[in-house]
């Protein structure tokens, strides 16, 4: 029991960090912000689910996915389908040629609900689908890719292409999906008006609580053997394989978890924003979410949340006052985080928590190379030929 608590919340300083985050999200924000701003923060926090997932699969698993929008979108669409069906009861849609189906279907001459929409009339099924559909999709991608040892840049490009395909499909099949406009005008959840201020408050708290739960779950995964294996994998994948592990299973697992978190975020997004559209499935949002994680520190679950909030706050603030500068700043942020602060915010605030869990900062290697790049730009030959600095280089090769 003690070990379980320890693995869930970590050491005392871990607990402190978690409590601080919980206090910020559950107390400070609601007390200081009006409902409009709070709803905005709520929207940002839905992206933080994706960022937390990316910490798991990218920061620890070394798997950079440029297609997390896929899962965010799938989760969001599942929720949106349920809400749309509820908003399309035969009374409100009486003017349609086929009452009782979503308005966009009616415009597209559909005369009955497509088969895959039908189960979404059930809330229980919807909840299940929000979790299962994206996870299953991630599982399929994962099996196809990792069993074939597709990694690194290849995986990044392929996930990006999958996101592109899905976007084209959703936009093209507008009778089934609402097309480029997405699924809009969502009103009630089981009769409860989600657009009212009271609902927004409640959804905000639900959202924050779920996010904290995901962080705790993420911490449980990382603090145990899986976390160590992921670090080991990132360092020497072959060694793990030749220690008798089926490496691909661990990658699939962590990729699925990241997808699951993203999907929860997507569903909460739909609830709080009131619609879902293909623009969250595509490449650009997917890459932006990577930068949220990177700014927060790609190996810090809690940092990912702060990173997401910070970047989005910056985006809102800057795009209001200096719209032209915003892209410059965003670009500089990408470059700066990669070049100078590979550990992001969490790296700046020396991460004592992780030290406790692992005995030392777990990403010593990353920090070292990152610091090298940042601190020591002088001799290009040295960094360009870092091979020479590796201990094994002089041995030569043997067939």
């Amino acid at each position: 029991m003690i070990t379980l608590t320890r693995r869930l919340v970590g050491s005392r300083s871990d607990l402190a960090a978690l409590l601080v985050l919980a206090a910020v999200l559950l107390v400070v924000m609601p007390l200081t912000l009006d409902i409009f701003r709070l709803n905005l923060v709520g929207k940002y926090l839905t992206y933080a689910f994706v960022a937390v997932g990316l910490v798991l699969c990218w920061g620890y698993g070394g798997i950079l996915s440029l297609g997390q929008g896929i899962f965010f979108g799938l989760g969001g669409y599942c929720m949106a389908m349920f809400l749309k069906l509820e908003a399309s009861d035969p009374v409100t849609t009486a003017i349609q040629s086929t009452p009782g189906i979503p308005d966009f279907m009616d415009w597209n001459q559909l005369t009955e609900l497509p088969w895959f929409w039908v189960p979404f009339e059930s809330f229980a099924f919807t909840l299940f689908a929000i979790l299962a559909v994206p996870t299953l999709f991630a599982f399929l991608i994962g099996v196809a890719m990792f069993k074939r040892r597709v990694t690194g840049v290849y995986f990044a490009i392929i996930t990006q292409s999958v996101a592109a395909i899905l976007t084209i499909l959703i936009i093209g099949q507008q009778g089934l999906t609402g097309g480029v406009n997405g699924i809009t005008d969502l009103r009630t959840l089981l009769g409860w008006d989600i657009r009212s201020d009271g609902a927004k408050y409640l959804l905000y708290f639900l959202n924050a609580a779920l996010l904290l739960a995901c962080i705790v779950a993420g911490r449980y995964i990382l603090s145990g053997k899986v976390g160590k294996l992921l670090l080991a994998l990132k360092d020497k994948e072959d060694r793990v394989r030749f220690s008798g592990y089926d490496v691909s299973n661990f990658k699939i697992f962590v990729f699925c978890v990241a997808a699951l978190f993203s999907a929860i975020g997507g569903a909460m997004f739909t609830l709080q924003v009131g619609f879902m559209s293909p623009s969250f499935v595509g490449i650009v949002p997917s890459i932006e979410m990577v930068i949220f994680a990177a700014v927060g520190g790609r190996v810090s679950l809690i940092g990912a949340v702060y990173g997401t909030l910070l970047v989005n706050y910056g985006k809102t603030a800057f795009s209001e006052s200096f719209p032209e500068l915003w892209l410059f700043l965003m670009g500089a942020l990408f470059i700066g985080v990669v070049m100078a602060f590979p550990d992001g915010l969490a790296g700046l605030i020396r991460s004592e928590r992780l030290r406790r869990v692992f005995g030392r900062p777990p990403l010593a290697a990353v920090t070292r190379t990152g610091a090298l790049a940042a601190r020591d730009p002088a001799p290009p030959a040295a960094s360009a030929s870092a091979d020479a600095a590796l201990p094994h280089a002089p041995t030569g090769t043997d067939r």
Partner: protein
């Protein structure tokens, strides 16, 4: 779909469709060539590749404005100068980017991907600040715009011919540069064994920089040529990225031949599918096929089999 047509009509359509496939292949190859060199040589995926294409496009636009205003007699030929300018400008900016950014990230390919994405945002906003948010249209020489009437029914687009021609010349040039020149020898030596190359007195840092800049310069040429078939605007380059990456990844790293074959197969698949089914679905199916094949051959079509 061919009922009610004469044999010669069908023949003409097939001929033109063959050419459409060929020019799409050349477009893909032009897009991907620069990226393939960079990816093959240094395992860097340059997400700002599209913006280097845009540099070439804006160079053409600038040249056309200058020619129109100051040297109308040049209007017929300025396009070749524009191609050269596109190369020079993109090469120079590529050189700077390598010097100030890429060289610190060679050991971290995924980070390069993010950093160059940031670079692409900055470049896009740069274009917007310099040339305005709206698309511009370089005035192209009259001879480039029309088509070449081969027979009564067969018309071949001249800009298509230009794309094919430039692609052929550029590919040959790259081939000779990489496989028949001293510099190419250095490049290949560096790729294969950096330490040994350094020991042999090759300045590998300089090789890297020039290779990266060359890749960008080729993108500049491609961008200049694309003004004849596509738009010139701050985000024009980003229209190509997904296709470009897929071509390169599909071809496999470190293989010029792989890139060519990959561009060819993707272009043919897409061109034929587009002819027989709807455009959007053709795109989806093409992408899906490519991804499917990549699952079977994760290292790309033509990665050579070596001891890992």
């Amino acid at each position: 779909m061919f009922e009610g047509y004469t044999a010669s009509e069908i023949g003409a359509i097939f001929a033109m469709q063959g050419f459409a496939g060929l020019s799409l292949f050349c477009v893909f190859l032009l897009m991907a060539l620069g990226l393939a060199i960079i990816f093959g040589q240094m395992q860097v995926i340059n997400m700002a590749h599209g913006e280097f294409l845009t540099i070439g496009a804006y160079s053409t636009y600038l040249m056309s404005v200058v020619a129109e205003k100051h040297a109308p007699w040049l209007m017929d030929y300025y396009f070749f100068l524009a191609i050269a300018l596109g190369f020079v400008v993109a090469f120079a900016i590529g050189w700077l980017v390598e010097f100030s950014l890429i060289r610190f990230l060679y050991k971290r390919p995924l980070d390069t991907l993010l950093a160059t994405w940031g670079l692409s945002l900055i470049m896009q906003q740069g274009f917007r600040s310099m040339f305005g948010a709206r698309e511009v249209s370089p005035t192209l020489p009259e001879w480039l715009l029309g088509s070449w009437q081969l027979s009564d029914t067969i018309e071949i687009p001249i800009n298509g011919l230009l794309v094919v021609g430039v692609t052929a010349v550029l590919t040959l040039a790259v081939f000779f540069l990489l496989f028949r020149s001293r510099w190419g020898l250095k490049v290949r030596a560096t790729t294969q064994n950096r330490v040994m190359a350094e020991a042999a007195g090759i300045n590998t840092a300089r090789v890297d920089r020039n290779t990266f800049a060359l890749g960008c310069g080729i993108a500049g040429v491609a961008g200049a040529v694309f003004t004849t078939i596509a738009s010139t605007g701050p985000t024009s380059g980003s229209l190509y990225i997904v296709d470009t990456f897929l071509v390169v990844v599909f071809g496999g790293a470190a293989s010029l031949f792989g890139t060519i074959a990959s561009a060819f197969s993707i272009a043919q698949a897409q061109s034929i599918l587009e002819f027989f089914i709807n455009g959007s679905m053709a795109k989806v199916i093409t992408l899906a096929i490519v991804i499917g094949i990549l699952m079977l051959r994760p290292e790309g079509l033509f990665a050579s089999r070596v001891r890992k």
